[in-house]
């Protein structure tokens, strides 16, 4: 291993067992205040419903818990440590003021059923964020209720379904390009639509002729990601919209890649009828190891009657409130009103940016992706030469000749101090390396990334085994996923 990196150095980190392995009777990390009401006899109150035993729940002290989770945390890579170029995931900086304002008392402790007259603060946040997102997308109305992107997709398609039903012409299927996220077809199936695949053309865009041929009165909508998962803007977007609209279909946009567009172009202006946003991508709310997210759905006027209940409205007395009486609504998709804590963070992000900051953010995100493309072109195969927006997709074609695949390169990147890019997606690129730097990376960090990727390409030529065996510097080496799936061990059990 002659290649080294200036990005990272190995250092000691702590071993730590499972919390259950530290437990022993009599240790405690809790203390309750003395009761100011009489004690109760729970056996008498509960009878046979009383629980006698809490099994193997742990008993540990506070310092042990602090060390336990702090040690675990040091085993994670994170945006806070460095570039996290997962394509389609938009791993941007998560501003800390977002976290601070989400913890202000009335915001953190507001109960969803408290009277509207003492909920005006929360309702104002709903209203202001909604107005911002409507303006950013160029749409007419919005629901903030869906809890994540895929949940937003479901909500959007439910509205599409309700719309066609109200027109008296229920439809059967959804068109989905072969480059789409897996959530798109899974969502269509959940709302009982058949899925029909749509081929991409040689530029990686929707094949207009194929679309025109496949479009008919059975098609409820096309689900399109724009820019698509190749990071390519669908240049014929207006023709796509026209083809759909001419036959009464709707254009659904998966807004996962909205970070390429904010402040530069608005989906509502190029023919989109319904779209979701990912506040945990474009609007900087933290991914938190997999969630929470938030997936607002913005729509055109024609879909407004079908919005989930409740909807925030201004009442005659000027105060804000929830409106429940919406007979054509698709209903609720979640209890209460959505992931409110994420609304707070997203609004704080918009305020910190303003119109100029949002535009500059988008420009930097696109600039960064193009800079990486330029840096790695020639070293890695670029299957589509179409202009890049916020992410760039290479393939492992050149390295595969030495038996090294995208996942191997990704694992080796870990030794260089980076989180890998997205591997093996989109499906239309065999052996894909999908790289999205976001706006949060400096020129220096990206220079290090390009250098690392080039160094790995050299290693593939000189010493492919080093790459195939990577990572070499992590606390665990490659894990046996097949064994994990064959005989699943999904919980700890005490040794017998």
């Amino acid at each position: 291993m002659k290649h080294t990196t200036p990005k990272a150095t190995r250092h000691v980190n702590q071993n730590e067992g499972l919390i259950f392995e530290k437990s022993s009777p009599g240790k405690a990390a809790w203390k309750l205040a003395p009761l100011d009401v009489p004690e109760v006899d729970t056996s008498k109150l509960l009878g046979s419903s009383e629980r006698r035993d809490l099994g193997n729940m742990p008993e540990v002290s506070e310092i042990e818990i602090i060390r336990h989770f702090t040690r675990l945390s040091t085993w994670n890579y994170a945006i806070d440590l460095g570039m996290y170029p997962l394509g389609s995931c938009t791993m941007k900086y998560n501003p800390r003021v977002n976290e601070a304002v989400a913890r202000v008392e009335g915001i953190a402790n507001g109960h969803p059923y408290q009277p509207e007259r003492i909920s005006q603060g929360a309702l104002q946040i709903f209203k202001t964020l909604s107005e911002c997102l409507i303006e950013i997308t160029g749409m007419d109305a919005i629901t903030l209720q869906p809890a994540a992107g895929a949940h937003g997709e479901m909500t959007g398609l439910l509205m599409v379904r309700a719309y066609h039903h109200a027109q008296g012409r229920p439809r059967k299927k959804i068109l989905i390009p072969d480059s789409a996220h897996g959530t798109n077809p899974a969502t269509a199936a959940m709302v009982d639509y058949a899925v029909e695949n749509l081929k991409s053309d040689s530029r990686g865009m929707v094949d207009i002729a194929a679309l025109a041929a496949q479009m008919n009165e059975d098609v409820a909508a096309l689900m399109l990601t724009n820019p698509n998962t190749l990071g390519v803007f669908e240049q014929d977007i207006h023709r796509i919209a026209d083809i759909l609209h001419a036959k009464g279909g709707l254009l659904y946009m998966d807004g996962a890649n909205m970070n390429a567009l904010v402040g530069k172009v608005r989906p509502g202006d190029f023919g989109v009828d319904v779209m979701h946003l990912n506040l945990h991508k474009t609007f900087s709310t933290p991914h938190g190891g997999g969630g929470p997210g938030s997936g607002p759905v913005a729509i055109k006027k024609i879909l407004e009657p079908f919005l989930p209940t409740p909807v925030v409205v201004t009442k005659p007395d000027g105060t804000l409130g929830f409106e429940y009486n919406r007979p054509q609504s698709v209903g609720r998709v979640r209890a209460f009103y959505g992931n409110f804590g994420m609304f707070v963070r997203a609004l704080a992000y918009i305020q910190a940016n303003g119109p100029d900051g949002l535009r500059q953010t988008t420009e930097d995100a696109v600039l960064n992706a193009n800079y990486i493309r330029k840096g790695l072109e020639g070293t890695y195969d670029l299957p589509y030469s179409t202009p890049t927006m916020h992410e760039v997709v290479f393939s492992d074609k050149l390295q595969a000749r030495k038996g090294v695949r995208t996942m191997d390169i990704a694992k080796r990147l870990i030794d260089y101090g980076f989180h890998p890019y997205t591997t093996a997606f989109p499906l239309i690129v065999p052996g894909a390396l999908m790289i999205e730097p976001t706006e949060s990376e400096s020129k220096e960090e990206m220079d290090l990334f390009v250098e690392a990727m080039k160094s790995i390409a050299d290693e593939v030529e000189e010493d492919p085994q080093t790459v195939l065996d990577a990572p070499h510097s992590t606390r665990v080496s490659r894990l046996d996923e097949t064994a994990a799936a064959r005989k699943p061990v999904l919980r700890w059990k005490p040794a017998v």
């Binding site: 008993e59 085993w75 009335g106 059923y113 897996g182 998709v333 900051g357």
Partner: protein
């Protein structure tokens, strides 16, 4: 813009390296007629101090400083401070889904511990981590039962959280899943005779909640016997997780759909919360959501990975068990830390305090209003029927900076002037006495000396 790490010179240099003259060239692929040539109409760029001020102001308009007796699926319990200390570590907060296991062992091990503790508490064999919330977990659990039984219809208890029922209806409509509802009896529990009559050979599952929406603990065993006798599964929703410290878990259930918000998650005006599905090992391959499994690395060292991903959308696309991708991982971590802090003994003591406060409050309210459903055990909620409209009572309570119980007329017109009250370990005797005093103002019965003391305190 303070989040962007580039100087104008950096941008120049990068454009030059790419071979472009201006940033506009980067956006050339977007047809000119659609390009936005004006500023977005969003608030101007604000300083951090202004942002903090803005949200402090909103907080003051949002019930700051009120004492609340609301529960109904969202509970105000104490959150140990170490929860926020630990989840604020950037390595947890700013990491993605742990697909790259070698640099995600922290998240993966903590999820494995979460799955273990949920199993211990629910009496189930496997648990996922996580679903969006209790309502969508319930809907997905029902869809899971539909796949497992090959049957299509569902019987739902009317004592299930009304908004959970609405969510299930939304999910079920387009799945062609007929729903029927079984009412509740005088003890507030699901009417078992009616439930049994609603079951048909097409019933995939029965869905109940325990403790139910009224805080009443259902007879899970009897419900399970009925469901199983007809070849249907039993799905039990748990909305108040703290109950698991003292209430026997629904071990007879086939699937448990849980809302874990009570375990250290802020009320946050309704979200983000933490749904969980737990079930039997034999059903795991029809379970939605992410699962972490234990395995070994090349040197035989213990490690953890995401597993059984062939159930999931990114592999199976339209044939997946669910479309769920992003979940509630960081919230699950809060829940995990909370469960670790209270543990085997603390959770029981915490649950007992909830019961003591609730028993006291119900006893006091019973002197002035009618406490319904007293014949079955309850956890930390109870229903009070008054002669006065509870909205009017609540208006007066707001004057004392108290948010009274949830008026139930909107969800259960048949219950008339009833409201759902909740007490947790944080509810003080003084606030209970004050609230009882305000309720008593327009009720007929004679307040006992103790309540008078409460009223006097208010008058001061």
């Amino acid at each position: 813009m303070r989040y962007l790490p580039k100087s104008p010179a950096d941008r120049e240099a990068m454009l030059k390296a790419i071979g472009l003259r201006s940033v506009d060239d980067l956006f050339a692929p977007i047809p000119a007629e659609y390009r936005l040539t004006r500023d977005l109409k969003v608030p101007r760029q604000m300083a951090e101090s202004e942002i903090v001020d803005y949200f402090r102001q909103r907080s003051r308009e949002n019930g700051e400083g009120y004492t609340s007796f609301l529960g109904a699926g969202a509970y105000f319990h104490y959150r140990p401070v170490i929860i926020d200390s630990l989840i604020s570590r950037g390595e947890f907060l700013t990491a993605y889904t742990p697909y790259q296991a070698e640099i995600s062992q922290g998240t993966l091990q903590s999820i494995f511990e979460f799955q273990t503790m949920i199993c211990e508490l629910t009496g189930m064999e496997v648990a996922n981590a996580s679903m969006y919330d209790g309502s969508t977990a319930a809907a997905e659990a029902v869809m899971m039962a539909v796949r497992l039984t090959g049957r299509r219809s569902v019987v739902v208890a009317r004592s299930l959280h009304p908004e959970y029922r609405e969510v299930l209806a939304t999910y079920a409509t387009h799945q062609g899943m007929p729903l029927s509802v079984a009412g509740f009896g005088k003890d507030g529990r699901v009417n078992l005779a009616e439930l049994e009559n609603s079951i048909t050979p097409e019933t995939a599952c029965v869905l109940i909640q325990s403790p139910n929406f009224f805080g009443t603990i259902e007879d899970v065993k009897a419900t399970a016997e009925i469901a199983h006798r007809h070849g249907a599964m039993l799905v039990v929703s748990i909305a108040e997780a703290v109950s698991l410290g003292i209430v026997e878990p629904p071990r007879e259930a086939d699937v448990i759909a849980m809302e874990a918000q009570s375990f250290g998650v802020p009320l946050g005006f309704g979200g983000p919360y933490c749904g969980v599905i737990a079930t039997r090992e034999k059903y795991v391959r029809q379970m939605p959501g992410r699962l972490v499994g234990q395995t070994v690395d090349k040197q035989g060292k213990r490690g953890f990975v995401l597993t059984l991903a062939t159930r999931e959308q990114h592999i199976r696309r339209e044939k997946a068990t669910s479309n769920i991708c992003t979940n509630q991982a960081l919230v699950a971590l809060m829940v995990n830390i909370f469960m670790t802090v209270y543990g085997k003994v603390g959770l029981r003591e915490l649950a007992k305090q909830n019961m003591a406060k609730t028993a006291y409050a119900a006893g006091q309210f019973a002197k002035h209003g009618k406490v319904l459903f007293g014949d079955a055990p309850r956890f930390n909620e109870f229903v009070v029927e008054t002669s006065e409209d509870p909205h009017a009572i609540n208006s007066r309570l707001l004057g004392h900076k108290i948010v009274g119980g949830l008026p139930l007329k909107k969800f259960y017109p048949e219950l008339g002037n009833a409201a759902l009250w909740c007490c947790t370990e944080l509810t003080t005797r003084i606030s209970i006495d004050t609230a009882v005093g305000v309720v008593a103002e327009n009720e007929g019965s004679e307040p006992s000396p103790r309540e008078e003391a409460g009223v006097v305190e208010v008058a001061r």
